[in-house]
């Protein structure tokens, strides 16, 4: 393993109240990395820090030999894109124009798209199968459609790394599966590296190459089979009402 993605002694949190201390994790490129953890354990804080939205208290996040937390917003925008679960916008934006926002880091001061930009936008729209509603207003879409448009925008940004914070949280079953499939396709055929936090652990275990497990202030990097074999998920929900059944790879009520 070349370990092109590594987090070293990273401490994250707000205003000197560290949520997660001294995280060190090694992973590789072109992987789908799932981030597991219970609510309030620091998943979002970790992802916000890795995305550059929240300054780290200390430490580094190296991707492809670049310390992502130490570059300007402009450079970072060409290295990583984000998708979150909040969908906000004011006014009328057409789906195609929304996807076109992904080209923002590459356009001139007035934001004029060039031929290459239009190609990237079309590619993203095709990958996410949005062709049928490019002329609709973003605000009129269903939650599932909105999230696909968000992902298309991230694809149009054409960054090697995409970080998604609980992207499937408002979606129904079919939409969830579609989003996961789309992400899988991006890793397999388009050389993307994806970091995704999710509570959909049963699906994530099937499609992720690696899991970062956050528990009691520590972050462990494990393969999905290690997670299952070592009973890590039952441990995560210790003393609770459910347990993880290894044979069926699903949660059971106790």
């Amino acid at each position: 393993m070349s370990q092109e993605l590594n987090i070293s002694s990273l401490t994250v949190g707000y205003e000197n109240k560290p949520t997660l201390k001294n995280i060190s994790v090694l992973s590789d490129k072109n992987m789908m990395i799932g981030v597991f953890g219970r609510n309030g354990q620091g998943k979002s804080t970790l992802l916000k820090t890795l995305s550059g939205l929240l300054p780290p208290i200390s430490g580094q996040f190296n991707f492809n030999g670049i310390d992502i937390l130490n570059v300007s917003e402009k450079e970072r925008a060409k290295l990583l894109s984000i998708v979150s679960n909040t969908q906000s916008s004011i006014g009328a934006i057409k789906v195609r124009d929304f996807v076109a926002f992904g080209r923002f880091p590459y356009t001139n001061w007035l934001g004029i798209n060039k031929v290459k930009d239009y190609q990237e936008i079309d590619k993203a729209i095709e990958l996410c199968k949005l062709e049928s509603f490019t002329n609709r207003n973003y605000d009129e879409l269903s939650d599932g459609e909105k999230q696909k448009v968000n992902i298309a925008r991230a694809i149009a940004q054409n960054t090697p790394l995409i970080i998604l914070d609980e992207p499937t949280v408002h979606l129904d079953l079919i939409n969830k599966v579609e989003v996961f499939k789309l992400l899988r396709e991006l890793v397999k055929n388009h050389n993307k590296t994806i970091i995704i936090s999710t509570h959909q652990m049963e699906y994530a275990l099937q499609i992720c190459d690696q899991i970062w497990l956050i528990n009691e202030g520590k972050v462990e990097s494990l393969s999905p089979s290690e997670i299952i074999d070592q009973g890590k998920l039952t441990e995560l929900f210790d003393d609770e009402l459910i347990s993880f059944d290894k044979a069926s790879q699903s949660f059971r009520l106790k």
Binding site: I82, I90, G91, I93, F101, F104, P105
Partner: protein
């Protein structure tokens, strides 16, 4: 944006420019003294007028007033547009957020407060034009800085509006105290200022105001790319490479200069800043600031020219305060926006 909608927007902009010329002509033509249209044209191109008094009315009164209306309408509309995007709040505007009040405080301190420091009014008349503008810009900058420093902690848009109204009330109270202690002459000139009158703008002031407003408008057009990114929210804007701190400061500086300088000479003029950007969005069905900025400028100019024409309709001996007219036009429109857009509180 596909070509048919962009053609439609080009056509709308062209049409609005034509309307600006028509309204500008009407604004010069209509007034308490009837001057034939032909004479106005010949006066404007420098030929001798049939009556010397007509020339004075045009050059000393109607022309500066019409130009002031143009500057005022364009500046306040663009400020409103930028604030609505920056605060992610459809009801934001320079007046309602207390920014005009901040400018008022600056002016109050300048007109009435300086005598406390032993500076007599005659000593400041020379620098009065530029002094009043600087005081006013500083005042609006102060209010904007306070608003932005707390806004990250206030997620709810209604709270921000209430805060703006509270800041406005505090400032009114402070101005009241200053008024209480000031002399009659200064008090009178301040009260006249608060009535918001375009006709009080002198030619000298216009030569200062014009370049300031034009610079502000050009800067706002340059800021439209980052303003577009703000539509997706701050986190996404940052992930797209926008330097949030820098662009915020740029937008605050633009809005305080525009609001401050306009308020300094024309007095506080309300509701144009809220209403016009909504009108621009409705007409263009777009949220792109590269479209909305020029559209807001043109719509703002037209509405203010109409308001100015109403304020000096033939048959009236005196000009009505333009502030009252913009409120009478603006407030029903705002109520209509609120009723139409029931989701207004969810827009954050």
């Amino acid at each position: 944006m596909n070509t048919s909608t962009s053609n439609k927007i080009h056509l709308t902009i062209l049409l609005l420019i034509v309307v600006v010329f028509i309204l500008f002509g009407l604004d010069l033509f209509l007034g308490s003294v009837k001057i034939p249209f032909k004479s106005i044209c010949s006066i404007l191109i420098g030929e001798t007028a049939e009556k010397e008094s007509w020339k004075i009315i045009i050059f000393q009164s109607r022309l500066p007033k019409a130009i002031a209306a143009i500057l005022c309408g364009s500046a306040l509309s663009v400020c409103g547009l930028q604030m609505q995007t920056l605060f992610r709040n459809p009801l934001a505007g320079p007046y309602i957020l207390g920014i005009s009040s901040g400018a008022g405080l600056g002016v109050a301190i300048f007109i009435m407060g300086l005598s406390f420091l032993g500076i007599s009014a005659s000593a400041i008349t020379l620098s009065a034009n530029s002094g009043i503008i600087i005081a006013s810009i500083l005042g609006s900058f102060g209010v904007l800085a306070i608003l932005l420093s707390v806004i990250s902690r206030l997620k709810d848009i209604m709270t921000v509006l209430i805060l703006g109204i509270m800041i406005g009330s505090v400032i009114t109270a402070i101005i009241g105290i200053i008024q209480y202690f000031s002399h009659d002459a200064q008090l009178k000139s301040f009260i006249m200022w608060t009535m918001g009158n375009l006709s009080s703008v002198t030619n000298d002031q216009l030569t200062l105001l014009g370049p300031i407003v034009v610079t502000g408008l050009i800067l706002s057009f340059i800021a439209s790319k980052s303003l577009n990114a703000y539509l997706l929210g701050e986190a996404y804007a940052k992930s797209l490479g926008v330097n949030i701190k820098q662009s915020r400061i740029l937008i605050i500086i633009i809005t305080s200069i525009l609001t401050g300088s306009i308020t300094a000479y024309c007095g506080p003029i309300g509701f144009i800043g809220i209403v016009i950007p909504h009108l621009a969005r409705m007409i263009s069905n777009s949220s792109d600031h590269r479209v909305l900025t020029p559209l807001s400028i043109l719509l703002g100019i037209n509405v203010l020219l109409i308001a100015d024409i109403i304020s000096q309709l033939p048959g009236l001996d005196q000009n009505l305060p333009i502030n009252s007219i913009t409120s009478l036009i603006g407030i029903p429109f705002i109520i209509w926006i609120i009723l139409k857009n029931k989701k207004i509180a969810n827009l954050n």
